[in-house]
Structure formats: C-alpha cells, structure tokens
C-alpha cells in the first residue's frame, strides 16, 4: 500500500495526529520516568568509588544525548524546510528549539553537580563542556533569531540556515573526548563494545533515555500544535478546531 507522505506535510492533517501522539507519548514518558527514577534512586547500588553522587548520571547522560539528537533533528527539519519550502517542517524545527535548549541546559547543570564531588570542580573549559555550552548558545541563537524577525516565513529560512551551520558542532561534541585530552571521560556506553558499567546502572540509563525521548516527542508535538494555531490563524480550517482544541481524543 502506498502511503501518501505529503498528507503529513500539511498542518491541517498533522494537527490532530500531533494531538493524539502527544498524549500517547506523554503517558509513555510518565511510565518510563517513574520506572527510571525507581531504578536510579533506589534499585541501582551505590557506586564503589563515586558514592551516591553518580546517581546524577541517570539524568545527565539522557539529557546530554537528547540535546545533541534534538539539534540534528532540528537541522533535518530545517533542511527539509529550505529544500521543499514546507511550512510544517519549519514549524517542527521551531517547536524543537526550546526543548533542545532545555536539554542542553540540564546536561550542563547536572554535569556541574556531578563534576563537583567527582572531579572537584563545577566547571572547566574542557572540550566537551565548552562545545556543549556552544550547543546551548546555538539553540538560544535560533530562538532569538526567530523572535527578532517579523515575517515568519523569512524567520523560517534564517533559522534553518543557522540550524544547519550549527550542526557542525554536534560531531565536535560527540568526538571531543577522543580528539582532545579532556577532563570529561570517554563514553561508557557504545554500540560496538560491552558497556563499562553494571547491568542495573545501564538499565537505569536506558529507561531514563526512553523517558527523555518520549517526553521530547510529547512536548514538541504539543508545542507544534500551538505554533500551528498561532501561524495558521486566518486559514479557514482552524476555526473548525475551536470545538476540539487539543485535537484527536482529548
């Protein structure tokens, strides 16, 4: 069966889908976060060398991964928006930026509170930390650039270019621990080698990562709904939504 993908490219047909997926992924996020927190704070044993301070890792690693991932997804939507001039792609990129900024800020924040007891400092101008700080600034730059431009279609293009140029920073963050001698340690979890940690700790990180993914999908889809209503006002179809604001079921 042939799926008409362009159906999803128009805000009118995407709006109700975004609504129901947002609720579904929100529920998933709550489940994963609940289970993940139980593992992270109770089940996982105290680390032999780091004590209980290592429990910060259960939020640090997922938020740091999400901060990088969201940027790549935002750059991907931006490329689509530039290439095909599709409104919804630009709206998706617009909806991703604040959550990406939040994840980058939380990665830095939790990293500082892990670094202090473990390395003896909240902050160092280490390659990975500095490049992650630049990631946060790139998100803030995209948000500020949009706020500064009056015409939304023009803002779409400008933000798309900035997002794409900034994407070069993501591999720099990812490989920084290999390319430079950093205070930040190398990765403990890899797709190609056995993880360098206990199974319960790994499980905790993976469940918390699932929670971060689900949360991101849920909150970004809810935000894109708001953006659609803000930007498509005046389009006749929106008025039919007034009876069912969230779209879909609820």
């Amino acid at each position: 069966m042939l799926i008409n993908w362009f159906r999803f490219a128009s805000p009118i047909s995407f709006y109700p889908i975004a609504g129901s997926w947002s609720y579904a992924f929100g529920a998933l996020a709550a489940l994963f976060a609940g289970a993940g927190l139980v593992i992270a704070l109770w089940i996982a044993p105290t680390d032999a060398t780091q004590g209980d301070a290592y429990r910060i890792i259960f939020i640090h690693v997922p938020t740091a991964w999400m901060a990088m991932f969201i940027y790549l997804v935002m750059a991907g939507w931006s490329a689509l928006a530039l290439g095909f001039n599709t409104r919804l792609s630009a709206m998706m990129a617009q909806a991703l930026a604040p959550t990406g900024a939040l994840m980058a800020a939380l990665a830095l924040w939790t990293g500082a509170f892990w670094g202090r007891p473990t390395w003896g400092t909240y902050w160092a101008w280490d390659a990975r930390m500095t490049s992650t700080l630049i990631l946060l600034f790139l998100y803030l730059g995209v948000i500020a650039l949009r706020a500064a431009l009056e015409d939304p279609r023009r803002a779409d293009r400008a933000c798309a270019v900035l997002a794409l140029v900034g994407a070069v920073n993501v591999p720099i963050i990812y490989f920084s621990v290999q390319w430079w001698n950093t205070l930040h340690q190398g990765s403990s979890i890899s797709l190609t080698a056995a993880p360098k940690m206990a199974m319960t700790m790994l499980a905790g990180i993976l469940v918390m990562t699932a929670a971060a993914w689900s949360y991101t999908i849920a909150v970004v889809l809810a935000r894109v709904q708001a953006i659609i209503v803000e930007r498509e006002r005046g389009a006749g179809w929106l008025e039919s939504l007034i009876q069912f604001p969230a779209g879909g079921s609820a």
Binding site: D52, L102, F113, I227, R233
Partner: protein, 64 residues
C-alpha cells in the same frame, strides 16, 4: 531509613540540586506549552468572534 535516602550518602546537595532543578525545569516547560496552546486558541476564538481590528489587539505580545 527515609533520612538515609535523602542524605544520599553525604551527596544530598549535589544529587537533589541535579534532580530537583531538572524536575522543576520539566514542570515549567510543560506548563509553558499548555499556556501557549491555550492562549493560541483564545486568540483564534477571539479572531473568529470579533472583527479583525479587535482581534489584532489581543495578538500583541504573543510569539508567532
């Protein structure tokens, strides 16, 4: 027992600052998105009910 849990082996300040701020930030983001969606709808409703001039006044100060 409970006190032991909150003490986090002496790392309470670090652990709870990390978890607490993360929880607070996520709660604020959820609230902000809900407010934004609701406001977008209120403005849509007004722009439908009221003539365009009145609707334009409510548009001020809103993200596009």
């Amino acid at each position: 027992m409970i006190a032991d849990f909150f003490a986090m082996g002496g790392y309470a300040w670090y652990v709870w600052m990390a978890y607490g701020v993360a929880a607070l930030a996520i709660a604020l983001e959820i609230a902000a998105v809900r407010v934004r969606r609701k406001r977008a709808f209120d403005e849509l409703r007004m722009s439908v009910d009221a003539p365009p001039a009145a609707a334009a006044m409510t548009r001020k100060g809103t993200a596009r």
